[in-house]
């Protein structure tokens, strides 16, 4: 879902850059508390590790029926581990590095961060939170609730992000609106399955081995 340079029109580029910058500034102040605490000495390197893992995982292209492929985006995954605001900043940094290697455009960084970080991260996080509040009525254990909610939340977030991406490319005139939106959503209905499974497996593993790294447990309201 990496939008390349030269595809979007200038107004879309500027608007999405402004939204992304504002979100990151707000995000910085929201996560400032993490840096004030002594535990940040341990957490900050793991933010870097997580960013590197997502960066590497985005190169793992799994096949999707119909001659296309998909890869992990990781917005919801990072949001579940580090919180919704941190996910925007982490995804932005990953996309900056990727854009320097030609995967996604530099001018389209705002749009790519909006799609994968803001929609994938912030929206995905609140979908996961909503699902957990429903799952709290069941007798499932915490790990199962978070894992299941992450799978579904990641799936919905990626499909919605593809819907928004379809709108963006249709505004640019690259593809007619109806075709862009329907085709993007159609392909991501399949790609999202991989996103949901990989995100859920990673969250399941972390929750099993190092549950303290899921820093959002209280924010998610899991009981």
């Amino acid at each position: 879902m990496h939008i390349p340079d030269g595809l979007l029109d200038p107004i879309t580029i500027v608007v999405l850059w402004i939204i992304t910058i504002i979100t990151m500034i707000v995000g910085y102040f929201k996560i400032k508390k993490i840096f004030e605490e002594e535990e940040s000495e341990k957490i900050i390197p793991y933010i870097g590790v997580l960013a590197a893992v997502i960066f590497a995982f985005q190169f793992v292209n799994y096949p999707v029926p119909g001659g296309t492929s998909g890869h992990l985006v990781g917005g919801t995954l990072v949001a579940v581990i580090l919180g919704p605001w941190a996910s925007v900043i982490v995804l932005f940094l990953i996309l900056v590095v990727q854009s320097l290697f030609g995967d996604g455009g530099i001018t389209a960084l705002g749009a790519n961060t909006f799609n994968m970080g803001i929609i994938g991260g912030i929206l995905g996080f609140y979908i996961v939170k909503g699902l957990i509040s429903i799952l709290n009525r069941t007798s499932w254990d915490k790990r199962t609730k978070i894992t299941f909610a992450t799978a579904i939340g990641s799936y919905i977030a990626i499909v919605f992000a593809s819907f928004i991406c379809g709108i963006e490319i249709s505004i640019a005139g690259a593809v007619p609106f109806f075709i862009a939106v329907s085709a993007m959503v159609f392909w991501h209905l399949f790609i999202g399955i991989g996103e949901g499974i990989i995100s859920a497996l990673i969250v399941f593993y972390i929750y099993k081995s190092k549950p303290e790294f899921i820093t959002t447990e209280s924010m998610l309201g899991v009981k």
Partner: protein
């Protein structure tokens, strides 16, 4: 001086994860588990406009970067810029953290 030993395990974890993933990617492409097909967005654009259209999108960077003719040089510049960006972010975090710690917590 940065105390490297403090970050020993995160660094080891990072190297192991990257090595495992890179091996997985290499093996995956070789045996055909992974795919080189276009992703969702590329598929939509190729289906509507053709592959050559996608490959020839006008880059806004041509006027600034057209002097780079060598792919290896481009790669090295990319790595250097990436390293500078990442180190800058970590420096800002470290600097900001020190500043916060130095600030008096209660002035009244």
């Amino acid at each position: 001086m940065v105390n490297i030993s403090k970050y020993k395990w995160p660094l080891i974890t990072l190297v192991i994860i990257i090595a495992v993933l890179m091996t997985m990617i290499a093996i995956g492409f070789t045996i055909g588990i992974l795919s080189e097909n276009p992703d969702g967005l590329e598929r939509v654009l190729i289906d509507n406009n053709g592959e050559s259209w996608l490959e020839n999108l006008p880059s806004p960077w041509i006027p600034f970067l057209s002097w780079i003719q060598n792919e290896y040089l481009a790669g090295i510049i990319g790595i250097v810029i990436s390293a500078v960006l990442i180190l800058s972010v970590f420096y800002i975090i470290k600097y900001k953290r020190k500043t916060i710690q130095k600030e008096p917590k209660n002035l009244i």
